[in-house]
């Protein structure tokens, strides 16, 4: 109300909105002009021994990778990784795939990650995304969220949920990559 009565404030107000609009539209133009494939971004995470790892450096020698975000307090996440764990030997033999599980547990529960991983006998590479930098960089809203990355480092498939059987779709996508 005040704004419309004072020309200078009105001008600033309009410019403010305009700058935002310009910003968003310039982003959209970028989005159109870019290559469609999404690469794995760089972020700092820790392995279970506390060693720093840069996600940008992770690779599987030209073979596909599965990136899965989970937490010890997330039931569906654990179901998904356990379901994959049951068949992972076969997948790995067929395709050479590697699974990287990123826990988003915070200080409350991050100490539960190592015991859980051991108790379930997972043969995955497990990392702690303690500051959720990688989660943000991968645009994950909530867990579980699983990505399939091809041998060139492009994200080719993703799924934001887990229902029993979802691992079969992931397996099909994985086989498509290595055919």
């Amino acid at each position: 109300m005040l704004v419309s009565k004072m020309p200078i404030l009105y001008l600033i107000h309009t410019m403010k909105k305009l700058s935002l609009l310009l910003l968003l539209s310039s982003i959209c133009i970028f989005a159109f002009s870019q290559d469609r494939s999404k690469k794995v971004p760089s972020a700092k995470v820790k392995d279970l021994q506390g060693k720093m790892v840069d996600t940008g450096d992770i690779s599987n020698n030209g073979k596909p990778m599965i990136i899965s975000f989970w937490a010890t307090w997330c039931g569906p996440c654990k179901k998904e990784l356990n379901a994959i764990s049951d068949v992972f030997d076969d997948w790995s033999e067929e395709t050479g795939v590697k699974l990287l599980a990123f826990s988003i547990d915070d200080a409350r529960s991050s100490a539960r990650v190592m015991p859980y991983v051991n108790a379930q006998a997972w043969d995955f590479d497990v990392y702690l995304d303690y500051n959720q930098d990688f989660k943000r960089a991968m645009n994950v809203n909530n867990v579980p969220h699983t990505f399939l990355v091809d041998g060139k480092g492009n994200v080719v498939w993703q799924h934001n949920n887990y229902s029993p059987g979802d691992e079969e779709e992931l397996h099909e996508e994985l086989l498509k990559l290595t055919k």
């Binding site: 910003l23 970028f30 409350r108 108790a119 960089a137 645009n139 993703q158």
Partner: protein, 563 residues
Amino acid sequence: MIRKLAVRWGFLTGLIFISGYSYSQSDNNQPDYGQIQGNVQMLFQHYQEDTIIAGIVPPEETTLNAFTNLIYTRGNFSAGVRYESYMPAQAGYPDRFKGSGLGYRYASYSKDELSLTVGNFYEQFGSGLVLRSYEERNLGLDNAMDGVKVAYTLTEGVYLKGVYGKMRYNFNDGLINTEGYTRGIDAEIHLNSIIPGWDTLKTRVIFGGSFVSKYQRDDRSDLVLPENVGAYAGRVNISRGGFVMNSEYAYKINDPSADNGFNYHNGQAVLMNLVYAQRGFSVSLDAKSINNMSFRPDRNLQITDAQINYLPAMTTQHTYLLAGTFYPYATQPNGEVAYQAEVGYKVKKNSLLGGKYGMDLLVSAAQAYAPDTSLITAEDPGLKVYDNKLLSLGDQAYFGDIHVQLKKKFNKKLSGVFTYYNFVYNNDVILGARQLDGTEVEGTVYADVFVAEMNIKTKSKHNLRLIGQYLRTEQHQGDFVALVAEYSISPHWVFALLDMYNFGNAIKEDRVHYPFGSVTYIKGGNRISAEYGRRRAGIFCVGGVCRAVPASNGLTLTITSSF
């Protein structure tokens, strides 16, 4: 406003500059424009009147929370914004969040050992006892820093970090920061990387230390308040094979605040955790002691507003409805002593107990007590001073949680999870249990909860999940039962029906049913879900931070997308 404008134009100019940069930088035939990624989360809710549960209906009848993140990356450079809307905010959210605008914007550059961020960022030192800036959107919690962050790797194994800025507190057509400043430094040293010959040792040792200070001017004429308040922390992590030991100690100088009744005592906290794990077996022990550790850039704020540090609850966060939303614990920042022990065991396949598929067993016990303190009479009667013995239990129990869980697969199509919980919940301290009319429950609530979950694979990619839950208590609202049926068709559909019934309420008219249904469609990074029904007033927690959510009835639509 002019300053705000300058900030936004600054970002725009920055982006234009970068786009020009990316043109001139292209060294091969295809110019590298970098890439844009993002995500969207929208939550629309329509409220309808429900007098039985005193369901909340805002005057607008509908609410919308929306968040869009856009991140631009090119090589070592990245910049991003988050556009937020609260029109108005969903019930249970801080109601001062209003309107639409930018809630987060940053630009960051990293090259070799240096990484620099300007604008908003999140950061955590150690386990967060002196600094943790983070976002938990589902709770309406966001204490993003706004300023500058520098991270520097001195050499492989020595990591330095510095932050300087203001902390986010509110939102009104744009983010609003607290007035005071928060600044800190952190160093982490991995001994195995820097001591020659240690890199092959089985024992790994990591040390860390942080210092954080906040500035807020003295806003009281009746008190002499410290304007700069410092806190420091030291931590150590030692691991060898299946053993891991983690501990952190933090100290804060006197920091009179609304939280601690403006007393001038210093603050202390200690966290200790010991884990042993091998294939199929694990033990973990935790101890925690906190005294007067509430730490905020604004001494007048309370509850979950703008907290500089994070004091984790040492209790498990449960996910089943009756176990998770009735009596969850939240850390008492003014003081508590807590212990937890947990044992996990996988009974081997083809054994007597394990059967063909084996069986998972978990036993866990956690207790939280008042700290052991004694008042010391200060010479100045205006000062409240007391002595505190760290890790020594006081005489008042705050919380107890004992649970036992058994997981078993019976055959290819059938598996089950069976859990028993016992809760002791001191509502005079935690203040989470209320009657239907909103009155606080007095004293301690003792509750037992039994949960049985069955998963039935009906055919390939089709799964039925049935959960029966029973909560038994003499206090609060008495006994509850809940039944959940969930049918999923992988990979796209999930249907769920739920009814919770408060059959044991002492007041006959309050023996209420809470029917609820939902449909979810998932495709790749997109997820759309519709929910309809009655929601009980309760406590919603994520990562040990909880928020009270009012009772409501109506329709909710949620869309999340990641691209």
